[in-house]
């Protein structure tokens, strides 16, 4: 019976004007998306590989251990995602490179490389061009795959009630739940047919180019993304059915649905995000952060100078008592090493804390905006596509891991040299043997399927729960409504 209703609904919808308009708009946007992606993505990939090559050749040209430590692993770059056309994720704002900390010299000592606060590419925002959202899959899905289901369902029940066909239908031996399911699947499948056509066209255009090698994992991710989108469309079909079952008039039902749509999809993701940050404790401004860092660094420097003074006095008294100088020399190296490594640690710790405070604010705001299914889908799609804020944090974490590995490598190399004094961070105290360029650890930004799935699982779960919730809501409302 249910399939009978579904096929009837389907035939009804597929021959309607709204289906034609839906297909047109989906196809137009998806084709635009694919074409623009084909125009911009190769350039992005080329730049990335150029930059990575340059940074690696520079790294390999250093053979001295101290130079390696001081100049660090060079710039580390974020690999552009091959699924960037799915979610833009504000990638223009989030820079694709790691930033090094401060540079200084004190007597014959100098800084060693540390990971700084990631700069943001403010050019992406503060330019003169009018703002606009990128037409990526996220835009198409969050806006249209929610708007169009409402247009298919607003009169599904209220319209039939107005015409009296609902009463007629229920006079047959059809249970209300079967009728509702029929309506639900009929509308959902219609919308998805148009959407899938557009998606296929989009992917077909993108895979015509030889450089777009979507791997198996990429196809897996794409499959999941399409599932998420279908689930999201289902939510709005169900919402449409709820309101349609509640109202007597389909005009009222439409107005209510559109107002709900505007609030939930257009306004909530941004307004709630900004609103939630107003009740959060303020974070350090850039100015305060710089000042705190300066104070901490001044502190360790003055400690160093004091110790050095003490050592000088000690040495003068030692010279008078004719002791060996070598022992005193290592203790000078020791305080130098302490200064250099402490300086590096403090810089890294403070930058990490500053970033943590900033990202905590963003993550909190994102949690609050998850009231809106549009935001949930956006975040899920960003994670799946390997762009956006979560991906940025992952990239920074990869950088941090790599730097630890890089430093361990230097310590190991230094330890292997018996002539070295093992004061890592001071030129005189380190091994002078040259390092073979092949042995230096190389950073490669990788994005595994796990990496993309883990942050998205929560969102997917939320969506599925929401779908269950609104669907059962629709049942309840329809069961209680008079026909």
């Amino acid at each position: 019976m249910i399939w009978h209703i579904v096929t009837r609904e389907l035939l009804d919808h597929l021959t309607s004007l709204r289906f034609a308009l839906t297909t047109f708009i989906f196809v137009a946007l998806m084709v635009t998306n694919a074409v623009v992606h084909l125009q911009t993505h190769p350039e992005r990939v080329r730049k990335y590989s150029e930059k990575v090559n340059a940074s690696q050749t520079e790294l390999k040209s250093r053979t001295e251990l101290y130079a390696l430590l001081q100049k660090g692993p060079g710039k580390l770059y974020k690999r552009p995602s091959s699924l960037a056309f799915i979610a833009d994720g504000g990638e223009a704002l989030l820079t694709d490179e790691s930033v090094s900390g401060g540079f200084w010299r004190l007597y014959d000592l100098s800084y060693i490389w540390s990971l700084g606060v990631p700069r943001l590419n403010m050019e992406a925002i503060s330019n003169l061009r009018p703002t606009a959202t990128a037409i990526d899959w996220v835009f198409i899905i969050t806006y249209l795959l929610s708007f169009i289901p409402l247009l298919f369902t607003f009169d599904a029940l209220s319209g039939e009630r107005e015409r009296g066909t609902l009463r007629l239908c229920l006079a047959n031996s059809i249970s209300r739940s079967i009728l509702l399911m029929g309506k639900f699947f009929g509308s959902l499948i219609t919308v998805l047919i148009a959407f899938y056509c557009a998606v296929l066209l989009n992917l077909a255009i993108i895979s015509t180019e030889s450089w777009t090698q979507l791997s198996g994992a990429d196809w897996g991710r794409l499959g999941l993304i399409v599932l998420i989108a279908s689930c999201y469309a289902g939510i709005f079909v169900a919402i449409g059915l709820i309101i349609s079952a509640m109202t007597r008039e389909s005009r009222l039902s439409l107005v209510l649905l559109l107002l709900i749509w505007v609030t939930v999809v257009v306004f909530m993701p941004s307004t709630l995000g900004t609103l939630s940050t107003r009740w959060m404790p303020p974070i350090q401004t850039h100015h305060q952060f710089q000042r705190a860092k300066g104070a901490a660094i001044d502190q360790i420097r003055s400690d160093f100078l004091n110790k050095r003074e003490v050592l000088r006095e000690h040495r003068q008294s030692a010279e008078t008592s004719q002791k060996e100088v070598a022992g005193v020399d290592t203790s000078e190296l020791e305080i130098q090493r302490e200064l250099v490594s402490k300086d590096m640690e403090i810089r890294e710790r403070l930058s990490r804390q500053h970033l943590a405070a900033q990202s905590a604010q963003v993550l909190h705001a994102r949690r609050i905006t998850r009231c809106s299914p549009a935001a949930i889908v956006q975040y899920a799609l960003e994670s799946m596509a390997g762009t956006g804020f979560n991906r940025h944090l992952q990239f920074l974490e990869h950088c941090r891991l790599h730097i630890r590995q890089f430093r361990n490598f230097i310590v190991e190399m230094d330890r292997a040299d018996s002539e070295s004094l093992h004061f890592v961070g001071v030129r005189r105290g380190m091994s002078e043997k040259s390092v073979s360029p092949e042995a230096i650890p190389v950073f490669e930004d990788k994005l595994t399927f796990q990496d993309t799935l883990n942050p998205a699982i929560m969102d997917i779960l939320l969506l599925v729960l929401l779908l269950g919730g609104v669907l059962s809501g629709a049942f309840l409302v329809f069961l209680r409504s008079e026909v």
Partner: protein, 520 residues
Amino acid sequence: MLQTLIHQELLGHLMSARFFAAVIITLLLVVANTFVLIGAHEERLADYNQKEAVNREAVDATPTYSILKLKVQRPPNPLSLFSAGLETRFGSDLDIAFDSVPVLSNPIVDVRPEEEQWAFGSVPSLSSPGAPLGINNPYLHLFSQIDLIFVFQVVLSLIALLFAYDAIAGDWETGTLRLVLSHPIGRGSVLFAKYIAAMVCLLLPVLMSLLLTLIQCSFARSVQFGGDDFLRIGGIVLTTIVYLSVFYLIGLLVSTITRRAATSLMLCMFLWVILVIVYPNWSRFALNPEGDIRAEKRSAEQQIAQIREKADRERHRFLANSPLKGEPPIFSESEAFPGLFSGSGYFFLGDFPRVNLELKDTAHPLVPHLHRYYEFAAPLQIRNAEEVGFVGQRLVTQTTLRQARWDERLMKLSPASLYTFATAAWAGTDLASMADYIQTAQAYRRTLIDTFHERDAFASQQWFAPNQGDIDWSILPRFHFERAEVGINAQRALPELFLLLCTNIVLFMATFLIFIKVEV
């Protein structure tokens, strides 16, 4: 008869549940967004005040004329509440130096090799606005900002279409249209009555939200509107009415063309999605009419390099005849060099040294030559900067500005974008207002140079040495950026307003002509 019609239509709209729901949602959205926007404005204002204080302190602590680095800021505009435009995104602080010309943006930066970019940050002799005000956490830019105009643009245009879609088609279906026209009344009057009634109903939520916003603003001490601002708000309301009327007429036209309310509704909804949500984003995303502008940038960079070389040659020629030998500012190859300065404090910005070197002996025979050198070099540097500024400005109009204008032009094919740009012009947050700010800053720089000339700063010892004690900085002119007058705002909003009006007239005429021929 016309009155009866209007009266009846009005009651029909006002008593309907859909109107009630629409008003409630609009007001809720307006109140919530005003709350957020006032908060953001307060944050910007606090940031502005703090930066002003920091800048003043920095100026007072400046020991010599040459290292003076003034920073000016654009005060936050309270009308950005209504239309954020460029106000919240475009940079605010601007470096003012005797040898750097303020420009809207610094387009040369992105053609430089990466290493050099790091070293300079920007092209010396051109200064462009830095970060926008009030962003403690720039990551929050990932959430898009919404202004009140956006609420009207999205919600009320939707409501306007919902009022209109069944105005004719619905009456035709139910047969009331035939009934109404059986009375001695012209078809034009029927259309007109419907139009007037709907516009009154649409005006209500606009005025109510305006009232609520103003009440909320009066509670917030930071947002203060002057008398002129109310005229500007009036202009914004006027534009809103014209904009909503466009959407109502689009709905009416569709409604007269189609025979069934359901068809009319679908067409209206898809038109709305395309005009309001899709097209403005699509045109900016898919169309790039300017194409690659790197060639212009490179040639400008070469010109700037030539100007610099020329200035360098002149400086060398001057130094060849001077007893000062070696590179400025230490002239380390001069005779008796070590006796000249104690301490070393100088840095280069571009190719001109900012000097703060204490003289060991002010009566040293080389000191008058130092005076003479700077008296020659500083005005040369100003001329040089002005030439570079000329090239830079031409480049900005050729690249950045032209690109922005093209984007705007293409977006303006949608009435929703016309409305955005018109209101931005009223509020003074549009491109032209940002250009005003840059012009004010340029004028301020000229007064600064005049002040330097008046005090003979270039030839004085305080130009490079702090020996004569602190400089009295109270003589510096104060920077004051006044937003453009209402008349100018109106002029800037006029083209868009005119286009919106024309669209109105065309749509009304079309609807009227079709309606006259329609069979009832």
